[in-house]
Symmetry: C2
Subunit: 299 residues, 2 copies
């Protein structure tokens, strides 16, 4: 038998397990990858030790990951869904786009920004289907941290309909790119468009992630929201949601996308003159969403 060499780092030892595995990556030329793997290994090993993971539980984890992988195809990304329901997607967003209170907060982009939004004129309606729903006027103004308007800012919007479906979930039933629009703010940074109030909707729940939610007593719903992506030369692109005050699930959004500052009243307006001015039936709902963006290069 060979003489034991207790300081050889690559013979397994439960006490030093993360250190041993991290040492195996010492030859990696990509230092950032090495740093990420070291942290990943440290946390994965601490998790196993902290909970005293049994062999059966480990095997159940392997099965879950395998099923999640098999649920992924060209149109479905079950691992992103897993990241979403574990709050990891929102955390990655926050880590990369911290808000200091002066700027409009961001949220995740989500999986439905699949197609380019059609360019539309300020005041246009994005509801091409006309299948019902509460008529709504959305107004806003894009300014920078000093309150100066961002003239000509691009405001890309997309949303679910009054039954909780995006256009891409209803191919053939609704016009392509229904409830999507790419607007250009005016010289004063202002934008406006007509739409219908979106409904809350469930994330796909017929796969392993849905089974996890069910097993743990969680629902699969997202609170009602309109997606906005605001960009302009010289500002950092903002990806966010505008949440409908009073929507179910604001306090338990399945992907943790809700931030207090993004919840807005979609107040009822009963004013025939204003309705006519905007080309809306009376009464209608109105939400105003002032947006403050950060000047500077993309990170």
């Amino acid at each position: 038998m060979s003489e034991p060499t207790h300081h050889d780092p690559l013979h397994f030892d439960a006490e030093r397990s993360a250190e041993i595995v991290t040492a195996s990556f010492a030859g990696a030329t990509d230092e950032r990858l090495q740093e990420i793997l070291a942290s990943l290994v440290r946390h994965a090993h601490a998790f196993v030790k902290d909970v005293g993971l049994t062999v059966e539980e480990w095997a159940a984890g392997i099965r879950f990951l395998t099923e999640t992988g098999h649920a992924c195809d060209d149109t479905r990304q079950e691992f992103i869904l897993l990241s979403d329901v574990l709050g990891v997607s929102m955390l990655v967003d926050s880590v990369n786009r911290p808000s200091d209170g002066r700027f409009t907060e961001s949220t995740v982009e989500g999986p439905f920004h699949l197609v380019d939004s059609p360019a539309r004129a300020l005041g246009d309606s994005i509801d091409e289907a006309g299948r019902g729903g509460e008529p709504c006027l959305v107004t806003g103004r894009v300014t920078d941290g000093d309150g100066r308007p961002v003239a000509g800012a691009s405001v890309d919007v997309w949303q679910a309909d009054a039954e909780g479906f995006y256009d891409v979930q209803r191919p053939g039933e609704v016009p392509e790119r229904n409830l999507r629009g790419l607007f250009t703010a005016d010289e004063d940074g202002r934008f406006r468009f007509r739409t219908i109030v979106p409904r809350y909707y469930p994330i796909p729940s017929d796969g392993p992630v849905g089974a996890l939610l069910k097993t743990t007593g969680r629902h699969a719903n997202r609170a009602a929201h309109i997606h906005l992506e605001v960009s302009a030369p010289g500002i950092r692109t903002l990806t966010t949601h505008l949440f409908v005050e009073g929507s179910p699930f604001l306090d338990s959004d399945a992907v943790f996308g809700v931030k207090e500052s993004l919840i807005r009243s979609f107040a009822e307006v009963d004013d025939p003159a204003r309705a006519t001015e905007h080309g809306l039936p009376n009464p209608f709902r109105h939400v105003d969403f002032p947006i403050t963006v950060r000047r500077g290069a993309q990170p």
Copy 2:
């Protein structure tokens, strides 16, 4: 806008992110699952924060997991391979089967215990193919923590051949269940069998896990070993390896399976009388592997 309710735990907040997500599992009826998810979320969020994971790095992680899932099928388990090369499999083994120094140490079972080993008589050869390799005698004795023999213990063995392949990797080329054997120890706990010295071999490296090893400058090889699984009524089943002293990769086994105490000399014996006694050519190699098992129920 709704009044902010700063103590609502399910609106996202980067500082308290793990706490918020853990609270979402409060309705789970399975307390153990709740405990595991809480630790998983805590470590996953700490990992993202510790390294400051970028959106691009997160996306690369999603892609890697998806490819790993797609590489899994009925005959290949790429997630187990990932667990192996990150040392997680060995850690789970250690957490569940701690050694206090008195008992023979365990290692992982590995993916090649696919078929039942054929029952063989003590002293039989497990090398049915006869395709070459160094002839070898393996002897051992199974005792308990007090040094008492475990009469009639089952000793299940399987190994790669002199070129580093298991029978299941060479269907049609070698007899089925070649280099596998199920032996029954005698009244004194002793067992012996003839075989050939196994060679080191690479784990499957044509998938995402192989790509990870390559990118990080790691090789895919396992040090040469014979697998043993020792069981008997009233003792805890031991799954371990017997490593060949002097094998390449003992200090860098790709799955971290090596423990000092499991490395043994396969010493050359030049003794025509002993060779004849055991039905082996002269010279031959001999390894003795005393095995100490723990009495008690399976955990």
